[in-house]
Amino acid sequence: MSHSVTRHTVSGPAEPGGPGLPTPGGAVRGGKPASSRRRGPSPTARRQRRAAFLFLAPACVMVAIYVVWPILSTIRLSFFNWDGMSEPSFVGLANYVELFHAQTFYTALKNNLIWLLLFLLAPPMGLAVALYLNQAVAGIRIVKSLFFAPFVLSGVVVGLIFSWFYDPTFGLLAVILGHGVPVLGDPRYATFGIVFAALWPQTAYCMILYLTGLTSLNAEQIEAARMEGARGWSMLWHVILPQLRPTTFMAIVVTIIGALRSFDLISVMTSGGPFESSTVLAYYMYDQAIKYYRIGYSAAVAVVLFAIMLVYIVYHLRRMLRAEQ
């Protein structure tokens, strides 16, 4: 499985100056009629091929340098022992062996799973808020935008806001509960505290997706269902949700990606602590590389994270390309 994307990118035209982007004889839309195409490309076709190449080249070069090559390079580095300065030495699978024996790796993996599961609460919560707000009342537009506002905030700001919310001496949570609970200082609660904070913007995101989805519902179907006596939950479940399927799909996609990418909030709120209890793969990797200069090892962590995501990327790509055809 791990080849499919890299293979594309190696042999694909994403290489700088990639081998002949548009192939000879490739039918160019709006080109000359079929007869002239047989005898090699016509001047028009050739001109269009060159145009296609020139239009694509800058983007491809940048993506090749900053996205494709780094992925391959990270995979290569994960087989080396390197501190970032001296010569890297090849160690085979040693980094992976160490990784699979490291307690922190399992903590990170477990936390990634917690993130993923709890984060999937965002789509239903977003749907609930969207249903609540999907009314034509005076001023509803501004209410909708204000509900959405948390999504526009940087993860750093959200992290700061919630660190403060959880502060055991004066935080809002302490005020509400009447006594302080060191949410972020307690290994048992830290991850949950961070995920709760992250759900705030993510719910807003899902809400806006569903609000848009709700505007494009088929009114006739709903009226028909209403005539048949469908109400409330059964209406939602049997009539509305099937129509919202593309929206739900998209909401789940962005939520899963968001969950696996979680870094900012963890970095700002706990730095993975206390005692690395709230770390996730993304943070663990960063920590190993930047703080401990264990580049090879941290590359191995990144590769594992990438492999997890790859399952998902491949699934998504196949779905998308099939829809194209």
């Binding site: 994403a14 491809c60 700001v157 494009s216 700002v268 960063y286």
Partner: protein, 283 residues
């Protein structure tokens, strides 16, 4: 319409609904409101323990001035501008051309290339971190805004190209053909025919990429060190460590960090939402 429009509700329930709206909004935004209130609270009040009551005197001017002058906040803010604006312009320019080529021309490898752009979006950024950091070091760009600009341009190009390619595919192809018959060359087709038609999409992308890049923290941490090129997200996060107790300053800094993206969002809301929900109703 679902749920049932409010006009068809009983008057009492309707009134109830309207009453719950501000309450719900207040609860939803409580964390944000708290920050706003704290940012205008004086240090004396905070040290007395008045965190949640209404501030007795407003120290808005003092707090913001202090946050702006005693820390390099303005410098960070300016760095953020220097990073974000070129990144937005660059990625959209590259993506418009690439999206155009992917949508208009047929050639072998088109789908592969497109798939690469799509897949690039989903890649966990951590997998790119070490080589990109290394590359920036080798190019002598480490700890400069250019390193961040180049990376953001490249990374966002994938997302924008995907978006624009789909958008251009929906345009009537006859327009392109007609222009060609009239003798327009490919560049003219792109510049004079397609570009004006995709202006709404470009606006939507510009605002999205602006918030993505402005809010970035991970790359700022990886590619900068110290104050020279650090954007505001790093600056605000550092503020927390520096003055753990000076929450009024932290809040003032947070507001400053949040202001541009929130303002952009409110100014260009329609485009923003259109961009964000593109593809959410079909496909």
């Amino acid at each position: 319409m679902f749920p049932i429009p409010i006009d068809k509700w009983k008057p009492a329930t309707r009134r109830m609904y309207k009453l719950t709206l501000p309450v719900a909004l207040l609860i939803w935004l409580l964390p944000m409101i708290a920050v706003l209130v704290t940012s205008v609270r004086s240090t004396e009040e905070l040290s007395e323990g008045n965190y949640w009551g209404w501030p007795k005197h407003f120290a808005m001017f003092d707090n913001y001035r202090e946050a702006l002058t005693t820390s390099p906040m303005l410098h960070y803010f300016w760095n953020s501008v220097l990073i974000t604006v070129p990144a937005v312009v660059g990625s959209i320019a590259l993506a418009a051309m690439a999206g155009f080529a992917l949508a208009i021309y047929r050639f072998r490898g088109n789908s592969t290339l497109f798939a690469t752009f799509v897949a690039g979006n989903f890649v966990p950024v951590q997998v790119l971190m070490i080589p990109v950091r290394d590359l920036s070091l080798q190019l002598g760009l480490f700890n400069t805004v250019s390193a961040l600009i180049l990376f953001h341009v490249s990374f966002q190009t994938g997302f924008c190209a995907l978006f624009l390619r789909n958008f251009i595919k929906q345009l009537p192809f006859e327009l392109v053909e007609a222009a060609r018959i009239e003798g327009a060359n490919e560049w003219t087709v792109f510049f004079k025919i397609v570009l004006p038609l995709i202006r709404p999409a470009l606006a939507a992308l510009a605002i999205l990429v602006f918030t993505f890049v402005w809010n970035d923290y991970f790359w700022a941490l990886c590619l900068t060190q110290g104050d020279d090129a650090a954007p505001i997200t790093v600056g605000v996060a550092a503020l927390k460590g520096q003055w753990t107790t000076a929450w009024n300053l932290v809040s003032a800094g947070s507001i400053l960090a949040a202001l541009p993206s929130v303002a952009m969002f409110f100014a260009m809301q329609k485009h923003f939402v259109a961009g964000l929900t593109f593809g959410a109703t079909k496909g």
